[in-house]
C-alpha cells in the first residue's frame, strides 16, 4: 500500500500521511518527491510532497509469528553482526506495543539496546553508522522471518542523549533567528536527527523549519515564520 501526500513542510506531509494510513512511522518507507519551498513572503511557495510506502506490518495477532520467534531472530541478527565485526557487547531486546487504529490493530516495535565499551564505534558521526547498522539488522530479520519487523537499534543510550542535545540546539538557534531575523542553517544531519529539530520547533510561534540539500548534505534551516494573517 502506498500514498502520496502533501503538506506545508516535509514533516507535516509525513504526519498527515501517517494519520491517514493509521500506521506508526517505523512501518513506512518515506520518499521525498518534492521538498517544497517556503517561497519568499509567501510568493513562489510550494507544498512538500512525500510518498509513503507501507511495509508489510506485523500485527502480533496476524503475523503468525510468536514473540519468542521474533526475539530470537532479532537477537541472532544483531549478535551475529556484532560478533563478525569483533565487537563485544550485551544486548537487551524489548517489545513495545504501539496502539494503531481499530481496523489495523496494535503494532509491536522491537527495540534492541546494545551496550559495550567498544560498541560506541558503531554510532558514527551523527549516528549515521548506527542507522546503517539498524538497516542491516532490519534486512536480516526480514529475510529470516519473511516479513518486515519494525526494529529500532540503540547503542550506549545514544538516541536519548542525542535527542536531548538536538532539542537544546534547536531552541538556542531559534532564539538566534528571532534576535537577528536571519535564517540559520544547521550542519548536515541524517533524517532521524533532522526530524528531532523539526518536531521541537513545529509549534513555535515565531520560527519555522525546513530542509535543504541532498543526501549526506541535507540540513535543516530555521527561519522566521511569515504568516499571511499578520499579527
Amino acid at each position: 500500500m502506498e500514498l502520496v501526500v502533501s503538506g506545508s513542510t516535509i514533516e507535516a506531509a509525513i504526519q498527515a500521511g501517517l494519520a491517514q494510513l493509521g500506521v506508526p512511522r517505523e512501518a513506512v518507507e518515506i520518499e521525498v518527491l518534492d521538498p517544497g519551498s517556503p517561497g519568499f513572503l509567501g510568493i513562489g511557495a510550494r507544498e512538500a510532497r512525500v510518498r509513503l510506502v507501507v511495509r508489510e506490518l506485523v500485527a502480533p495477532s496476524a503475523s503468525g509469528l510468536a514473540p519468542e520467534q521474533i526475539e530470537e531472530a532479532v537477537a541472532q541478527a544483531v549478535s551475529g553482526l556484532l560478533t563478525s565485526l569483533g565487537i563485544q557487547a550485551t544486548l537487551s531486546i524489548a517489545q513495545e506495543t504501539v496502539e494503531g487504529p481499530e481496523e489495523r490493530g496494535n503494532y509491536s516495535i522491537w527495540t534492541v539496546r546494545i551496550e559495550g565499551p567498544t560498541a560506541g564505534r558503531l554510532i558514527g558521526r551523527h549516528g549515521r553508522a548506527l542507522y546503517a547498522f539498524q538497516t542491516l539488522a532490519r534486512a536480516i530479520v526480514a529475510r529470516r522471518l519473511g516479513t518486515f519487523i519494525p526494529l529500532v537499534v540503540d547503542i550506549n543510550g545514544y538516541r536519548a542523549k542525542r535527542a536531548e542535545a538536538l532539542r537544546r540546539l534547536a531552541l538556542k538557534k531559534a532564539e538566534q533567528v528571532m534576535a537577528t531575523g536571519r535564517p540559520v542553517e544547521l550542519e548536515p544531519m541524517p533524517a532521524a536527527e533532522r526530524r528531532v529539530i523539526h518536531m521541537t520547533l513545529k509549534d513555535h510561534p515565531k520560527v519555522t523549519t525546513y530542509s535543504i540539500g541532498e543526501g549526506e548534505e541535507r540540513r535543516v534551516v530555521i527561519a522566521m515564520r511569515w504568516t499571511s494573517e499578520g499579527d
Partner: protein, 77 residues
C-alpha cells in the same frame, strides 16, 4: 571485515557458498570485492543501493581509525 561480509552473505542470500570475497590493500586503503550470483545482487544492494551503502557505512565505522575501507559488489562470472 571478511567475517562481517561472510555473515551478511549468509544472512541475506540463498546461495552464500558461491560468494567470493577478495581484498586488495593499497597503503591505508583496503578495497573489498564481493562477487555474488547475478540473480542475488539485488538482495545485497537493496532499493536505490540503500543496503549496499549501509554495509559500507558499518564497515567504515568498524574499521581501525587509520584504515579506509571500501566495498564493491559485482556479479559472479
Amino acid at each position: 571485515m571478511q567475517a562481517f561480509l561472510e555473515f551478511i552473505a549468509h544472512a541475506l542470500l540463498d546461495d552464500p557458498s558461491s560468494v567470493r570475497i577478495k581484498e586488495i590493500r593499497r597503503g591505508p586503503v583496503v578495497k573489498y570485492f564481493m562477487k555474488v550470483p547475478q540473480a542475488e545482487m539485488g538482495r545485497l544492494i537493496g532499493r536505490d543501493g540503500h543496503l549496499a551503502e549501509a554495509i559500507r557505512q558499518v564497515m567504515r565505522a568498524a574499521a581501525p581509525p587509520q584504515r579506509k575501507v571500501d566495498l564493491r559488489i559485482e556479479p559472479l562470472d
